[in-house]
Structure formats: C-alpha cells, structure tokens
Amino acid sequence: MSSAAPVAVRRDPQHGYLGGVCAGFAARVGIDPLLIRIGFIAAVALGGVAIPLYAIAWVLIPAEGPERPAFQRLLTRQDTWLVAAGMGCLTASGLLLLRAWDVWIVNDRFLWPAVIAATGGALIWRQSQTAPERVAQRGRLPRQTVNRATAGAALVVGGALIFLYVNDALAPARDVVLPVIVILLAVAIILAPWWIRLVRGLADERDARIRSQERAEVAAHLHDSVLQTLALVQKRADDPREVAALARRQERELRAWLNNTRPSGEETLGSALEAAAAEVEGDHHVPIEVVTVGDAPLDERGVAIVAAAREALVNASKFAGPEPISLYVEVTDERIEVFVRDRGPGFAVDDVPSDRRGVRDSIVGRMERHGGRATVHSTPGYGTEVELVIES
C-alpha cells in the first residue's frame, strides 16, 4: 500500500450504512470500518459538527462502485431501525430524567448529539449483528404485522390518554369517548356477518378464476397437440407404422406435459438422451424404450456420450428391424453408463461387414477421445448391445 501511488479517497456505497463515507475512508487507510464509525460517533457526541462534515463528504467525494439508494439496505432491515430508534428514545429519556433530578447539568447542547450518538451506535451494533440472509428469510407473516400494528395502536392510545391526563382533560374526555367506542363496537358487530361473507366470497371467486384459467390452459394444449394428432391418425389410418409412431410421439409429449418435465434436451444428461431417442424414433419409426437411473447435469463428457448413443441408436434403428430398442442409462457419482440394446439379427463380432465397422469405430473413437470406452456385444440370433462407459 505504501509503494502504490497515492490513491484518492473514494466512498464505498456498497459497504456503507448511509453514504459509504466511513467505509471509503477505512478502505483507503486500511483499518476496520467499525473503528472509523466509532470515531465518527464519538465526534458527533462531543459536538454536532461531525454531521455536516459527513454530509459534505457524502456530496463531494466520488463513489467507488455502483451508487445505491442510501437507505435501501437499511430499510430492508426494519429491525435495525427499530432498535436504533428505541435506543435513541431510551437515551433521551435517561438524559431528561437526569435533568429532572438535577443530578447533572445537561445542557441542551449535549442532548441531541448524545441521542444521535446513541442511535448511531445502536444502528451499527445491530447492523453488524445478524447476517443478511437470516433477515431475508424472515418473511413477515400477516400475524406479525397485525401484532406490530396492535402494539403501535396501543402506544398511540396510551400516549393520547397520557396527554389528556396531563391536561386534566381525562375525565370529561372519558364521558365522550366511552359512548363513541360503544357505538363503534355495536356497529362492527352488526356489520360483521356481511364483512365475513364479503371476504369469503372474494376467496371463492379467486379459486374459481384460477380453476377456469387452468382449464383454459389444458384445453389450449389439448387443442394444439392431441386433437391435431388424432386428426392425422384418422387420415393416415392405412399406414400402421406411421400411426403407431404418431401415437407414440403424442403420448410422450402428453406425458411430459402432465408431469411438467423439464424442457427437452437442455440441462441434464437424462433429458438430452431422451430428446435424442425421440428424434431418432421420429426419423426411423422404430420404438425406443428409455430407462434412466440417476441423472446429472450435462457436461462435455455427457455431450460426447449422448452423441455416441445417438449414433448407436440410429445404427440399431436402421439394421435391427422393427423390434423395439432399449436404451438404458445409469448415472452414478463414479461413472456414466449407457446401453443400447436391439433385437436384430445380431452378428459374430469378429467378421463384421466393413460398412458397419466404420460406424462402430466411429462410436469407439468418440468415446475414447473423451476418456471413456465403447464395447459391442453381439450374438447371432439374439441381437446386439452397445455398451458406453465414461468415468467421471
């Protein structure tokens, strides 16, 4: 720090409580902002000049980092404000009491600075206490709000009563206030059933609206997809394979919609494989059954294994006849395994016709490039299985 060129002082609104002046100074000098703040508070207590100085600093010193609305952070932590205000009240109360007892001649000059100092101190203390996450978590339950409102109302009423008492107006006031209160209560009791019915009616209406919205959504979806498919099926009724393919595709789509599954192909290995299988099935009309155990986010190795699996699927669809193909995926922490099994004629692994060997080499090569391996097992008459393994 000493060898660097002299750095101009900047404010730090991100880390500061008000304008970031103390935080900025602390960063420049290299000590804990808390110490600077304590010093600032002490200066305020000794004489009020520190406050205008802070304001000037806030205006003149440029800010480092994005400017934040000054009270935003503090406002979100209402408990901080409450504690600070409470502390201020207590301090003022203590000082006034001292004055009443003539214990210590407290000049008015000292009153306000002391109060502000105490408030500031409480603010800092409270702010530094709870971590922000806990505060964010603490949602305001409606009951909590009601309690606070009640406490506030009680305070106000208490204050009003005291005021009246001090002015010797309590007794006559009571003669007026009491009847008014009684009347208000009576009216409230009379109107209560209507009020309750109104509130309940609102809730019912909201439920009905939500239900009709969902119904409209379902109808729209069915209209877009299922009805279209059924119409297509009727038209192509003489081509059983295509009808079966259409039906399978629609079934898969509807299932996914009903289960609210993730959008196809995006984030995870499982969905990428399912999407690949759906594409291959759509192109070649051979049903592919997908079974997944475990899942993982899609990374570079996942992409490789999906590509290899897709090649194997296409190969199986082309050469292994109309019997369904099984795609099995197992994802554990240690490895990813994919098995593509068909029920085609099979072949003796040794004498492989050259065109199929090309595809197999491509699959093997792709896997080995990414640190995995591919094996092909086949028995004439029993079909073929391609095994793809990548260690994670």
Binding site: R255, V293, G294, F339
Partner: protein
C-alpha cells in the same frame, strides 16, 4: 388355461384386451368400478387379475386392499397407462406382483399373466429402472443391518439386465445361472419392495415427484 378378470373403467380398453388375449388366456369376467371388481373377483376366483391403476373410487389400490381382506391369495398384475413412479411403487407395495404398461402386445401380456399365475414377478424394464433408482437413492441408509433395505449385487445385476431389455432366459444365459434362479432373484426384489421400510421408499417417491 389361466383364468383372468379384467378391471378397468375404460370400456374400449377392456374390450380391446379381451380381444387380444382371446385364445391365449381365459377371460372369465371384467369390471369397471371398485365395488363391481371386488364382488367379481371374490365370486369368480380367477388365477390373475389385470388391474388398472386409475379408477374412480380409489383406483386399483382400493381394489387391492379390499380383495386382500376377503381373498388374500389373489394375484394381481397392474396394467396401466401411467408410468409415474408413485403409482407403480404404490401398487407393488400394496401387493401387485407385476406392472406393465398398456402399450404391451397381446402375446407379451399373456406371457406376463402366465408368469404371475405361476407365482413369479413381472418387471417391465421401466419398473426395474424405478426400483434401481429407489434403492440407490437410499444409498448408505442409517440402518444398514436390515437386509430388506438393500439389494444384493446379484439382484442389482439382474435388475439392470431387465432394465436393459433382456428377457429372463437371456439373463440366465449371460449370468450363467438358471432361469429359475433369475425368477427367484426377481421375486426377492419384489418382496423387498413390498416389505422394506415405508419411510425410505415413500421419501424417494416424493423426491421424484418434486424433481420431475
């Protein structure tokens, strides 16, 4: 021939299955509601009941429960459009000895019915996948001593092969064991599925629902 009762609230489907199974098994009755089903099963005493999962009045689960009180030896094969894990597992744990989806062909269905009637369990590849998933999700459970909580390596191997699309005799050939042994392993898995601690499997099903 094996006698079968079909329980499904979808009449088109009931008729379709009847036609498909004609000649392969003996369909002696069918029912569309839970009450009819229970009455029919208790009266006719079939070898196997083909049971749909989703029906009004509690669904296949309700039929299973009520029949279990009156005719506990009854064997059920769950047949459904749904392949949601919760449905599948719930029915197996309630006592069904197998689960197949409605897209299955007539011959395979008849074969499955016969196997259930012989006392074996029928696991579709997807069900095998679910079971592997369920028992893997509880990896390193707190109470490891109970053997019902885990699958043995052999059972896991057999399930994997089923999930990969192998038939029992193919699995037997690959693992160098007899078909009967394969069936024994599958039945053991079924028993574990039915008896293992409710907590773990329900938790898995709930997790699945949330994740999905």
């Amino acid at each position: 021939m094996t006698s079968v009762v079909i329980v499904d609230d979808h009449s088109l489907f009931r008729a379709g299955v009847r036609a498909e199974l004609d000649g392969l098994v003996d369909v002696i009755g069918d029912a569309a509601t839970v009450e009819d089903a229970v009455a029919c099963i208790v009266a006719l005493e079939p070898d196997v009941v083909l049971l749909d999962v989703h029906m009004p009045g509690g669904g296949g689960l309700e039929v299973l429960r009520q029949v279990a009180e009156k005719r506990p030896v009854q064997r059920f094969l769950a047949l459904s459009v749904s392949d949601a894990p919760e449905d599948v597992i719930a029915l197996i744990r309630a006592g069904a000895r197998g689960y197949v989806t409605k897209t299955i062909s007539g011959e395979e269905l008849a074969d499955a019915v016969r196997r259930i009637s012989d006392g074996d369990a029928v696991f579709s590849p997807r069900l095998a996948g679910f079971v592997l998933d369920a028992f893997a999700a509880g990896a390193a459970p707190v109470e490891v001593d109970d053997e019902l909580e885990q699958l043995t390596t052999r059972e896991r191997e057999v399930l994997r092969h089923i999930a990969r699309g192998y038939l029992y005799k193919e699995i037997a050939a690959r693992l160098n064991i007899s078909t009967k042994t394969v069936e024994a392993h599958v039945s053991a898995v079924l028993r574990k599925l039915q008896l293992s601690s409710r907590h773990e499997l329900s938790r898995w099903a709930v997790q699945r629902r949330l994740v999905d």
